[in-house]
Each structure stands twice: as C-alpha cells, then as structure tokens.
Subunit: 342 residues, 2 copies
C-alpha cells in the first residue's frame, strides 16, 4: 500500500569541489566526479556538487587554502602535497615505506587513522573523508638507467610531495610539479625523471615518449590515499542525512578509484612494454638507502613535531602488525598465483 | 538562507535480511548491520532494515531460497554456498586459485564481474551488491600435521562450499557446515579439520582449542566476496533514490568488512601463536596438486555448464592480467616491507 509522502528536513545545497588533478585522468580526477554523481542520486537531486579541474578555480596546490578559507566547500587532493604546511599532512596520504592500499584503509576505518587525522585537520578548518587510493605505485620514468643508489645523486626528479624529503637525503633534487605539468618538464629536460602513479595514467600522460626506463616499486607510495577535504562550516551546516550521504558517496568513490587503477593498469603496462618501455626493479641498494633515510627522517620529525609524532607512532605500530599478518595468507596466495601459467 | 523543505518521493520501507552467519562474528555478520545502519541514516530513518542471524528466520544455507521466493527481501551470504544449485554461484564469491580481494573488487566494479553475475542471478530473482570481502583466508585447523598431499586423502574436512569439489578430487571428504556449527563437529571428532576465515574469527570460534595445526594459504579463498542478494521485485519497488541508498550503503559495508578483518587479524594471530598454535605453510605438493585439480575441474565445468563457461572465461582472462600486473609494484613493495624490521 502507498504510505504518505514524508517531508524532507534538508533543503537544496550546492557545493564546489576543487580538484588537484587534470580532467584527463578518469581514475584520480574521476573519483571526485563519482562522488558528485552519487551525492546527487542519494539526495534525489537536491544536493548538487560540481567538480573543477586543477587550475580552474585555483592552482592544484592551492586547494587546501581554498577549503580552509571557505572559497570552496571542498577539494579532492593528495594529502602529502601540503607537507610544507606541516609534515603531518603526509601521513594522511602516503609516506615512504608506509602502508599499502588495504592497510591504509584498515588504519583509517578500523584503526586510529581517521580519528587522528581529523584531529589534525581541524587546525585547517577541514573535515576529511578517504576518497580513493591508487594502490602501490610505479617509481616513474628515467631518462637514464639507475644502476645503483649513486645514480640518484644530482637527479632532478619530479616526485609527489613529501617523498622529496627522502630523495633529498639521498642526494637527489626533488621537484614538486602538478600532474598536468609534468610531461612538458620531462620533455624539455628541465627534469631528469618523473613519477606519477602507474601504467594507465602514465601512458595517458605520455611519459613513455620522453623517457625509456620505468622502475618499480614506488617505495614512497605503497598505497596513496586521496582525500576529500571539506570546509568544517560547510560540513556542519548539513543535516544528519546529508552528512551520511557525503560519507557514503565518498565510500563509493573510494572503491571506484582503486578498482579503476587495478582494472586498467595491466592493459596499459602491456602496451608500454610492447612499445619499448624498459621495465626494471629498483636496485637493492636504492631501496635500502631509501629505507634507512626514511626511518632517520621520521625520527628527526618525531623529535621536533609533536603532531607528526602522535600520528606517526600510531601508524608505525599498525604497519608493523599489518606486515606481520600480510606475509602469511595474503603473500603466500599472491606469490603462488604470480608464479603460475594462467 | 533557509530554502523551503522539499517533499520526498519515497515512502516508508521495511526490509528483513537473512544472514548466513552467526551474530557473534562482528566482522562478517557485522557488515550486514553496517549496511542496515547506513540505509537508515541515508533515508532519514524512513527505510528500515533488520538483520537476522543464521537460523533465526531460515537455515544458513536456505537464504537463497528465501530471497528467490520473496520470504525475505534480502540475504547476506557467501555465494559459493549455493554451488549445488549451479556452480556459477561460486564465481561470485571465490573459487580455488581465483582472485584476491582487490582483484575481485576490480573485476566486479570495473571489469565485467557484476554485469555477468547479475545476468546469472536474474534466474533466481536476485539482484546483488558486493557487501564485504574477507581477504585471503587461512587454510584452517587440522588435528594432525599435513606433511604432503597424501595426508589430504580420507581427510574429513569442513570447507566452505565449492572448494569441496577440489578437495574431493584430491581424495579428501569435504563437509559443508555453517560457521556456527563447526566447533562442535571438530571438537567431537566428526571431522578431522575445518577452515573458516582467519585469525580473528577463528579465535572467536575457538578452533585453536580443538586442533593444533594452522595452515596457510587458503588457496580456495584468495579473497572471498560476501554478497547482498536482493529479491528483484523488492528492489524494483524502490525509488531511484532508495536504489542509490542500497548501492551506497553496500559500498560502506564492503569497505568495512575488509578493514575489520585486516585491522583485527594481526592481534588475533599473535594471540593464537602465543597460546601454542602451530602455524605452517601448506607443503608445495599440496598447492600444486590443488592447482592442477582446480584447473581440470574448471575445464570440465566449462564443457558442460554454459553459464559457468561464460563467466569463468571472463574471470580467467582478468585473473591472468591482474597477476601479470600485481607482481610488479604491489608485490615488490610488500615483499620489501615484510622483510624489514619495523
């Protein structure tokens, strides 16, 4: 039988999201569009969200200021871009030798991750929701072969945010360049190497055309979380129902981004290798030096930044336990599968 | 300014979910409760869902009949339990040497998985949503040591659904027993071995008290997807807004279950090992025989069940590409991390 229509407590809302990414990337930029679409569907069209590419409303790296000041209601970005404001930002995205994608989600949703990061973000008028993960990334494109850790010395390397601090300690020269501007810098030779994410995006951005060597793993991004940062006042103004809509739409987008990267990377990798890209694992001494310098950096930061220390210590304990567990069922299943002729 | 309140197109709805799991498991049973809670929040309390433990409304393995006949609007279950109706059910949950958790989500949401499974489920009046994943599972609890594949012969083994067909080909005697009834069977010695999921659930269910040997990996469940099966008429009766609510609430629950297992398994594993559990990797010949028999079984099924063939072939291609890609960035990052002193 037909029950009577019930009056909605919440009225029409319009939000703008400033993305740090170029519109061409249907993976990482696309997740914000998925979020916007779902918010519309869940609210019966009453809560409208528009997404704006990097540079449209503000520069790629200006989006935290935009949210903090209330210029836009929200942004969709990689937390570690903002390590210059406070290194603690990086812990909400990815740090060198941090968590992989599943571990990051577990820390956020079931560990203390989301709680601790929200405490920190409150200082920037930000309420956040995890809204995508890239999975473990490739280590990027190099004009020259990397034979040993010595080859990092003097390397002008575009690397995402916080990882630059470790590259610097290894003798490299990190460059923080937004995704939409990397190709030109690499083509012109302003930089010697550049990393973005992985095969699908990298092929779209055309890096294979200007650098032949493609290394893995991206030890600075075992599972980069992308976040939706929301201005606290804009969030507080929502009804409980619309708050639930924001959370659920972000969950759909969170799944969507990882699924897109996982589903689309294999085909792109085959295309890259087929067109001459030289795929290689980073030499062991690069990994070991990077690990050593990362751990030294984290100790130094813990000694001088109490916000970092509080969050990092929790993440480090979680990371230790996760790696203890993942080596059993997960690793032995994956190892076996990867060794089979399928 | 206050905009006028807007009338909701959708009226009150009440659904019942029959779970195949016992209420004590806050991981796998809990995901249905998360779903119910989110549906309530997203609808401002107008769409109410109640969750019922295995046996409360119908037996654990009777839930598909219940949804098909419309006795309940939905159930929350492991697809492979129903391989006796049609082996194709198993492909929606997990098959031996199938996909891991991330790969399964990628196949469902970005590959053809969800589309193909929905075509198949339509024959049972079912519309489905992925609603949880356990991650790679442990291989379970054995009263006696498994030294080689010969020790599987004659083994009375409780194993989840479809995997029993491979165990049988290896000479074992599979038993399909609901989660809530395994402990008693193992304690009484009605069975020689039993697997459930992993450390957190297994510790709760007390298997360590009645069998000392704990093996990995559970090669039959690299990433078991748990589904919400919805009666098609009940689903069709929803407004577009409530359909979006079901999808988004299922996404929240999908993330929640994997995060709970990942966050809670490490501590439970430490407790188990601390209390005397003997953790061991399955001998190589067990894995190899199981793989060989699984592939032979899949060929046979493809020859006689066209529904299986259609879905399996798509999954197999996806699996080949996923394992090609995951061996690079993902595996090399995880390997390195698991080898470090953290």
């Amino acid at each position: 039988g037909a029950a009577p229509a019930i009056v909605h407590a919440q009225s029409a809302v319009r939000w703008r999201i400033a993305s740090s990414f170029p519109k061409s990337l249907d993976t990482i930029y696309g997740a914000a569009e998925v979020f916007a679409k779902k918010v519309g569907e869940l609210s019966g069209g009453k809560f409208q969200v528009s997404v704006h590419a990097a540079g449209e409303l503000m520069p790629a790296f200006g989006v935290v200021d935009g949210v903090q000041n209330g210029t836009v209601e929200a942004c969709h970005t990689a937390p570690y871009y903002f390590f210059g404001k406070d290194e603690t930002f990086a812990l909400g995205g990815a740090i060198p030798f941090g968590l992989n994608s599943r571990q990051m989600s577990a820390w956020m949703f079931e560990g203390n991750g989301l709680k601790l990061m929200r405490e920190f973000y409150a200082g920037y008028n930000i309420m956040n929701f995890p809204c995508g993960n890239t999975g473990a990334q490739m280590a990027g494109w190099y004009r020259k072969e990397v034979k040993s850790a010595a080859d990092i010395k003097g390397l002008k390397f575009r690397v995402g945010g916080f990882a630059g601090k470790v590259i610097e300690r290894m003798g490299g020269v990190p460059q923080n360049i937004p995704g939409g501007e990397i190709y030109q810098a690499l083509e012109k030779g302003t930089i010697d190497a550049a990393e973005w994410i992985g095969p699908y995006d990298d092929l779209k951005l055309g890096f294979n055309k200007v650098a032949p060597h493609y290394y893995y793993p991206g030890w600075w991004e075992g599972g980069l979380e992308i976040d939706l940062y929301i201005n606290q006042k804009a969030y507080a103004a929502l009804s409980p129902e619309y708050k639930a809509i924001v959370e659920a739409a972000a969950a759909v987008a969170h799944i969507d981004m990882q699924a897109k990267y996982d589903a689309r990377n294999p085909g792109a990798l085959k295309q890259l290798v087929g067109s001459g890209t030289k795929l290689a694992r980073f030499p062991k001494d690069v990994m070991e030096l990077a690990f050593k310098e990362s751990m030294a950096l984290y100790s130094e930061l813990s000694a001088k930044n109490p916000r970092w220390k509080k969050v990092y210590e929790d993440l480090a304990t979680f990371r230790r336990d996760q790696n203890l567990w993942f080596r059993f069922a997960e690793a032995s299943f994956d190892d076996f599968m990867q060794a089979q002729k399928l």
